[in-house]
Amino acid sequence: MLNHWSDSGIWGARVVPNDLLREMSHLFREFEEGEVADGSARALQVATRDAGDTFVVNACVPGMADADVEITLQGDSLVVRGKRNVDVPEGYRALRRERTELEFVRSFSLPAHVEVDSVKAGISNGVLTIELPKAAEEQPKRISVQAA
């Protein structure tokens, strides 16, 4: 169990979102990897799910504010961009640096039409949540079963 603490320090190295993404690939096809030179795009953890009448995208963006994230939706393509700086606070010197700068561009191909005007996004506790309600014709419909 000691090796829990000897991680490389890349955050989320053991977290599952990549597996999750693979698992959900039939729902959200990610067609573009982050365009980041130092590979830190992998550090962005994203989870996607189909919540019935809504698609939900979550991304870990600790330390980032609303203004640090840009979300665009064009047709069935969702693009999320963001950046965070991790500067040494003024007056301090660094003894250990593990938190990486984040600069990412992630694109998702939505599997169904969404109501563009009803898309909501917000950051809470360092987690970005984007809710994309499916267009009316895509929503699951309940068929009532009549007694014979």
Binding site: W11, V15, E23, G63, A65, R96, R99, N125
Partner: protein, 133 residues
């Protein structure tokens, strides 16, 4: 002393059954009067974040909410970390704050451990009389 705060190799006391455990990435900074530890805990609210001093260690542990970044099969994520606190830290002066998924722990150094500036007095009057004439 350059490694002011060492990572403790002791394991977190209780293992986590239904969650993926992740080492929270952490920065450590030093100033004359304190150490500042900054760690990412995305999806963790203040209620579910535990910051404890246990003997010589600072233990950090927080569970991310199920809706935010859960793993497959619904398991949640537990961020944890444990650091050895230098003897120079005044245990009564450890303060923690959580904002936007980032934890900041300020650890004040004991008075005796801070660098002390010794005031340099002006030269005595005698010196002036020597230089003057």
């Amino acid at each position: 002393m350059s490694q002011g705060i060492q990572e403790s190799m002791n394991n977190v006391s209780h293992s986590v059954q239904d969650a993926v455990q992740v080492a929270a990435p952490t920065d450590v900074f030093e100033r004359e009067d304190e150490y500042l530890l900054v760690a990412d805990f995305p999806g963790v609210s203040a209620d579910s974040l535990h910051v404890e001093v246990r003997e010589h260690d600072l233990a950090l542990e927080g569970r991310a909410g199920p809706a935010s970044n859960s793993g497959p099969s619904g398991s949640s994520v537990v961020y944890a970390r444990r650091f050895r606190i230098p003897a120079t830290v005044d245990r009564g002066q450890i303060k923690a704050e959580l904002s936007s998924g980032v934890l900041r722990v300020h650890m004040g150094k004991a008075e005796t451990a801070r660098p002390r500036r010794i005031p340099v007095g002006r030269a005595p009057v005698v010196a002036r009389s020597i230089g003057g004439e």
